[in-house]
């Protein structure tokens, strides 16, 4: 513990770098998944091939991807962030599709009957209803991303992962434990933020009967679980 207190500024710097390396790719993954998911729901035949492709990308080992990218982007932050963005896409994209497909037909018909056009229906009705499932995918992507950044330490850019390579070289377990704890805490904080966001974005769920909530959360849990592996 003394070690942690005497190195506070270094730990703060590494934690900040870690959060940056982990979260920017998740945001990019979300930004790509949303339009891609909307397109795949509208043109259903696109979904299986795109899902197949993201599943294959998900199967690529992080270390191997880092290494592949060194040839193109060198030993930079980008080399670590591109694979994380790809994994995030693979985890979030199926949840966007599942979430949008889970919108009950009567709800969609009611929106049409009220005169909502395609875009307004998507933004005002369908996406909000899909929020719990999308956030489930987002949670898996965020937590995995925060965990995976540390592998980047093997190529010299890994945020808190530095504490692991350094701890190994110095045979110093305190440093390693501090690293693990900080990463888990970071993931926990990010997860709490996402759960809070879900509650704020879906106020109608608070009054829902437990049965409805259970179905939604079950669907959400499964989508997230499958990650890129694709459950339908």
């Amino acid at each position: 513990m003394n070690w942690a207190f005497s190195n506070v500024s270094m730990l703060a710097h590494l934690t900040g770098q870690h959060a940056y390396l982990a979260l920017v790719p998740v945001l990019v993954g979300l930004a790509v998944s949303l339009p891609l998911g909307v397109v795949c729901v509208r043109y259903g035949w696109l979904y299986p091939p795109v899902l197949g492709l993201t599943s294959v990308l998900y199967a690529l080992p992080a270390l191997a991807l880092f290494v592949v990218l060194i040839a193109y982007t060198g030993l930079t932050d980008t080399t670590v962030m591109i694979p994380l963005g790809v994994y995030s896409l693979a985890a979030i994209f199926p949840s966007v599709v599942d979430g949008l497909r889970g919108v009950p037909a009567p709800v969609r018909q009611a929106a049409i009957a009220m005169g909502f056009g395609t875009w307004r229906r998507l933004i005002r009705v369908e996406l909000p209803i899909a929020v719990p499932v999308i956030i489930a995918g987002l949670r898996v992507a965020t937590v995995s991303s925060i965990s995976l950044v540390s592998v980047g330490a093997l190529i010299g850019t890994g945020g808190l992962g530095y504490l692991f390579t350094d701890g190994e070289q110095r045979d110093f377990s305190t440093e390693t434990i501090v690293g693990i704890v900080l990463i888990v805490v970071l993931a926990l904080v990010a997860d709490i933020v996402l759960v809070t966001a879900r509650r704020l974005l879906t106020p109608w769920q608070r009054g829902a009967t437990p049965a409805i909530r259970r179905t939604t959360s079950r669907r959400a849990a499964l989508t997230g679980q499958a990650g890129g592996a694709g459950v339908s």
Partner: protein, 225 residues
């Protein structure tokens, strides 16, 4: 020059396909690490998932815990296990098992939990005991999801077993770590290509396995829906 050219340059040398550091030897090591980690994880995670799904108690805790569990950094666990065990060569088992448990446990739980209540009622009506319902109805019906969890876990373990080389063990990770240490990019690329190939083989193996293990009735249903 692309990644594949680099990998090909190393892999096309016939001398790299024999001996202790040859591709076949490293493949066997890699598969050994994966298989052992998977067996241990299945022994731990499968019964817990089935039990919690069957009794319907503690599910929320399980899912929340599994989500945070995923954030445990594999590299950190590896280094910690290595240091704390005094440099034991089995230290790689711990991070790989920790990696494989959450997907297996959660999908098993969700699979068993999601079995249609009517189906269970019918089984009880036919005179099955609770144990029979579990093994003859709930587990077979949950099998597609259980396999999905196993596949996710297996692919992650194959991909991550590369880090065993970080504590001086073998497997394809040897090529990546050694190549990085000596700036031999061809070697690194060859190692990465081997891991990716093995991960893809694993993916196909599981599609084949699901044809054998999932009951014919469920497969038919899946095709129709």
């Amino acid at each position: 020059m692309s990644f594949f050219d680099f990998a090909w340059q190393w892999l096309s040398v016939s001398g790299h396909w024999s001996g202790d550091n040859g591709v076949p030897a490293r493949l066997i090591e890699h598969v050994e690490y994966t298989a052992l980690a998977m067996v241990i994880s299945v022994v731990i995670a499968l019964p817990v998932g089935v039990l919690i799904g069957h009794t319907r108690r503690g599910g929320f805790t399980l899912v929340s815990l599994a989500n945070i569990w995923r954030s445990l950094p594999t590299l950190g666990l590896l280094v910690l296990a290595f240091i704390e065990s005094g440099g034991a060569s089995w230290a790689w088992v711990i991070p790989l098992v920790a990696l494989a448990i959450p997907p297996i446990m959660v999908t098993t739980y969700e699979g068993v939990l999601g079995v249609d209540a009517d189906l269970k009622d019918a089984a009880i009506g036919m005179g099955m005991t609770s144990r029979q319902v579990l093994f003859k109805v709930e587990v077979p019906v949950a099998m597609p999801l259980i396999l999905l969890g196993l596949r996710t876990a297996a692919i992650q373990v194959v991909a991550t077993a590369t880090i065993a080389a970080y504590i001086s063990l073998g497997g394809f990770g040897r090529y990546i770590i050694d190549g990085l240490a000596t700036n031999n990019y061809q070697l690194v690329a060859a190692g990465a290509a081997c891991v990716v190939a093995l991960a893809l083989v694993m993916q196909f193996a599981f599609s084949g396995l699901s044809r054998v293990v999932v009951s014919a009735g469920l497969r038919k249903q899946a095709r129709q829906s």
